[in-house]
Symmetry: C2
Subunit: 148 residues, 2 copies
DNA sequence: TAATTTAGTTAGCATAGCTAACTATATTTG
DNA sequence: CAAATATAGTTAGCTATGCTAACTAAATTA
């Protein structure tokens, strides 16, 4: 299916959606400095907290990075005691990586800062626009659940 | 107004919106490798293409990075002939930085790849949901225009 | 004119991405 | 069953991107 066949209206919406996502994340990312961890570590930790224990390879795939990159991210998280590593008894090559209580707490705190910042901005919207936003985001989430 | 007073409904919407933005950008970013330039350079170039010529300090502020960081990003873009640097005749300390034709072409190409990818995914939506998405994104854009 | 402020650079550090080459463990196959 | 192959992760070494501290040069202020 050639993408160039998209009609101009869809391209216009895609363009605005793309731009909105960029500006939104640029804004909320400013809260992350408070956690003391870099973006790659926070993102990997989030996968572990919300997706449960993973091997290094699974984590790398989820984050769309190569294994050597994830290897160092995991090393950093382990050094900060945010994750725990055990070896798989079925396969000694694999590592079992999971978030520690400290890791879950730190991620939760960082998340709350981002969400609270965003929510405080959304408060400026009139109720009916807010409701519409909520419905639309659900549409988007359902759509994106089928991606990859 | 303390953010912690946001009602749970707004927090829920903020959370979903945040998550949707993350997954959307993670998806479209995969197109960027085709440009041969890194994310910081593409983003700075985008500011120049859509916002017109800037000084280094203005660029750094727009990208929310410190001047030394932008200094190297600009050096990289100049080495690839994507931008052009002249000195301000009014103030010899300032640099006037602008995108070259090559820079505009490269940015446009990368943008098209992202937008086309996103648009092709949006085609799966029924027309009325697509229309609703378009309206909601406009609401978001108006809201975010007043941020910062 | 001298002091201060402003714009940008340089040096040096940490994080985050990659590929190529390696080790160690599993699996497959002759 | 032993040898070949495949798989999981690490190490080494490169580039890019973020920072702070300390610097140069130019403009402004006292």
């Amino acid at each position: 299916m050639p993408v160039s066949s998209s009609n101009p209206e869809i391209l216009e919406i895609a363009d605005r959606l793309h731009s909105a996502a960029i500006h939104l994340l640029r804004r909320v990312r400013r809260q992350d400095t408070a956690t003391g961890e870099g973006p790659a570590r926070l993102s990997a930790l989030s996968v572990l907290v919300f997706g449960g224990p993973k091997t290094l390879g699974e984590l790398a795939a989820a984050e769309q990075v190569k294994p050597p990159t994830m290897s160092r991210i995991v090393a950093g998280l382990a050094r900060s005691r945010l994750i725990e590593i055990t070896s798989d008894p079925q396969d000694a090559r694999r590592m079992r990586i999971r978030a520690t209580r400290k890791g879950r707490r730190l991620l939760q705190k960082g998340r709350e800062l981002r969400i609270a910042d965003l929510a405080s901005q959304l408060e400026a919207l009139p109720p009916e626009e807010l409701a519409k936003l909520g419905e639309t985001v659900e549409i988007l989430q359902r759509l994106m659940a089928g991606w990859h």
